[in-house]
């Protein structure tokens, strides 16, 4: 009998019951909650007279609507404020573990979960947010759900699921200098497409993935959803264990030893079979920049904006033409000639301490281009912010002309006050370049933190390897 994939192991350990047609009741260990996708679920739960099944599985915090202005005291937008106050009230009424505004531990839920040790290897973890795939970096089965499923997990601690297929994305070799986890995952999406992972759970493996820090692995798994896969994951190794050890929610003492023994098995068996295997060579991957309105519309920084005339598929060609119209770009323009209006370093993809260090290393001692309207750094959590300040990174950013902000989702999706104006081009370390994503009419280009930093200094894209 063939061995098991990591996905098989995680799945099998959480089956409460299964029907012959494959419909499975899957147990959920951890439920992360934020303000945007939860109010209707809490209300429906209350109207049905139900209680959360297991309170201590839930960790909640506001992140999407929260202001990032230094020292803010209130949310100016009354609609945003009501949504955050609704989460406050639900957390209080039910006695949830909650990091409200003002708590230094608060931040983007996908940064805070791992930081607190609320994300552990071997868990099933869900959140009403598609970027929940991030937590798969810890050899967890983690995926985003809609609000009805948020209510379902609250009420039953389970989800009704059918098992996805398994895909291995093997990134061999060694990434060159200046090539980061973000570039690897953008190259993966460029290769398999935004629907390439639909119906699959992805496992990222190979030497280039093993060489990544946990921050880097989170960046890669975060964007599994941009390849169409609800879940992405990486096997456990010493890097994982070193990160998880001694976090506030992590097991301690004897329990830690017991957990580590179990976690060591959280990798695909050597004879496991996958439904699909995709391989890439990290050594051939260059810093990536998106040119269009879907993350698959990506090229290396030394390439040009593609020409739709060369695309044989009519639906794809129409998509490219539409994207170029929206982005205000002409085919064959060198990527390095795209002038920028704003730069955003932040989001659940790239707002961890390592991301800020990488950006600061490029910026150190230099100035943001005068042509830029704004350059923002938004740390992923209050603790990332504290750590960065202890290392003096905030002073490097502010001396260069960056704004140093409070943690939150910020300009990744512009639900708070941070947003692009129509027609503005932005180098962004976030995850989606959809039309209007960062503000109506805004034009987003996805890049790594180092590439965003270099672009901020130059005022246009530059190859960080030679900058």
């Amino acid at each position: 009998m063939a061995g098991k994939t990591l996905f098989d192991k995680l799945w099998d350990a959480h089956v409460v019951r299964g029907d012959p047609d494959g419909t499975t009741l899957l147990y959920i260990d951890r439920h992360l909650v934020h303000e945007v996708t939860s109010p209707q679920a809490f209300e429906a739960l209350r109207l049905a007279g139900r209680q959360p099944w297991r309170l201590n599985s839930i960790v909640a915090m506001p992140d999407h609507n929260t202001p990032t202005d230094p020292g803010f005291t209130t949310i100016a937008d009354p609609v945003s404020r009501l949504q955050v106050e609704t989460l406050d009230a639900n957390a209080r009424a039910l006695g949830l573990r909650y990091f409200p505004i003002g708590d230094a531990r608060r931040g983007i839920v996908h940064v805070v979960g791992p930081e607190q040790g609320a994300t552990l290897p071997g868990m099933t973890l869900v959140c009403g947010d598609s970027h929940t795939s991030t937590h798969g970096a810890f050899a967890a089965l983690a995926f985003g759900i809609g609000t009805s499923e948020v209510e379902h997990v609250l009420a039953t601690q389970c989800l009704i699921q059918k098992k996805a297929k398994a895909m291995l994305i093997q990134v061999d070799g060694q990434a060159g200098p200046g090539v980061t986890a973000k570039d690897l995952v953008l190259a993966i999406i460029g290769k398999i497409g935004t629907a390439g992972g639909t119906g699959y759970a992805l496992e990222f493996g190979g030497a280039a993935i093993r060489a990544l820090s946990m921050e880097g692995r989170m960046t890669v798994c975060n964007m599994a959803i941009e390849a169409g896969a609800r879940a992405g994951m990486v096997a456990v190794d010493d890097t994982t264990l070193d990160y998880v050890r001694d976090r506030p929610f992590s097991p301690q003492g004897v329990l830690w030893e017991q957990a580590v023994t179990a976690w060591r098995d959280l990798r695909s068996d050597d004879d496991a079979t996958f439904d699909r295997i995709v391989t890439l060579d990290a050594a051939t991957i260059k810093p990536q920049v998106t040119w269009g309105t879907s993350p698959e519309m990506v090229v290396a920084v030394d390439e040009r904006v593609p020409d739709p005339a060369r695309e044989p598929d009519p639906v794809k060609r129409a998509g490219m033409e539409q994207a170029l119209r929206y982005m205000g770009l002409r085919p064959n323009t060198p990527m390095t000639e795209i002038q920028l209006d704003r730069v955003f370093i932040g989001s659940c993809t790239n707002a961890r301490i390592e991301d800020l260090r990488a950006a600061a290393a490029v910026i150190q001692g230099r100035k943001v281009a005068a042509s830029l309207k704004q350059a923002l750094v938004v740390p992923g959590s209050g603790l990332v912010k504290q750590q960065a300040e202890a290392e003096g990174l905030d002073r490097i950013f502010t001396a260069a002309g960056f704004e140093w902000r409070e943690p939150g989702c910020s300009m990744c999706l512009a639900m708070n006050a941070d947003r692009l104006l129509p027609g503005e081009h932005c180098a962004s370390t976030s995850n989606r370049n959809f039309e209007g994503r960062q503000g109506a009419g805004g034009r987003s280009h996805l890049v790594s933190p180092a590439m965003a930093a270099a672009a901020a200094l130059a005022g246009h894209f530059v190859d960080v390897r030679t900058f």
């Binding site: 109010p39 429906a44 609000t147 009805s148 639906v315």
Partner: protein, 212 residues
């Protein structure tokens, strides 16, 4: 949940691939704590020429007359014909609520993003995957014939054109049963509460750190 059995509905085309949930319902409308009120902001940035904000009276707003839903021939539609990877991106169920409230009961596309696909069933919306060549054909027929309708039969799992051509589609048997009966998933799951408790008791022994 609303039940779905059969539908004879007017079809509107949306001829672009990778339509994401940010396009279906832009982020500013997600600030609502209600489950209703999203239909009038469906595809807001494509439907209207001005910038939409929650609470705006859409009757007064300038419409983009190039957008299909603004054309009189597509008023009172209940079936959306779409392209590959419909509903990609954010998990926001508000996208489904907006489509539902606008009047859509069924979406036909060559493929859907997974989270959106799951969310559809929770509001009694039926997402149907048909092969690309069939979808191409339907796009041609919709364009050629004002008032074009399709008949969707969930029990028989068929989509039938006005010309009488029928196409079969796949649907998960459990989801089909829930849709036909309008069943609430949570109620069904709680029928297995004892199984959940038994699982927890066993798991607490194996992996006690998960219950701290």
């Amino acid at each position: 949940m609303k039940a779905f059995t059969r539908l004879d509905g007017l079809v509107a085309p949306l001829d672009r691939s990778n339509v994401d949930t940010d396009a279906i319902i832009p982020k500013q409308f997600l600030k609502s704590i209600q489950r209703t009120g999203f239909g009038r902001y469906l595809f807001d940035e494509w439907r209207y020429l001005d910038h939409g904000e929650p609470g705006m009276d859409c009757a007064e707003r300038p419409r983009n007359l190039d957008f299909p839903l603004n054309h009189p021939r597509y008023w009172q539609v209940s079936i959306l014909l779409a392209r590959e990877n419909f509903g990609c991106g954010s998990s926001r169920e508000h996208a489904v609520w907006a489509l539902d409230e606008y009047g859509f009961r069924c979406i036909i596309a060559p493929s859907f993003a997974d989270i959106f696909f799951t969310n559809c069933f929770k509001s009694g919306l039926l997402p149907i995957c048909l092969p690309i060549d069939v979808v191409d054909k339907l796009f041609r027929q919709v364009a050629a014939k004002p008032g074009y309708r399709l008949r969707v039969d969930l029990p028989a799992q068929t989509v039938t054109t006005p010309g009488g051509e029928a196409f079969g589609f796949e649907v998960d048997p459990f989801r089909k049963e829930c849709l036909l009966n309008g069943w609430d998933d949570i109620g069904l799951t709680l029928c297995h509460a004892d199984d959940i408790r038994a699982y927890e008791a066993r798991r607490r022994q194996e992996a006690p750190w998960l219950f701290a």
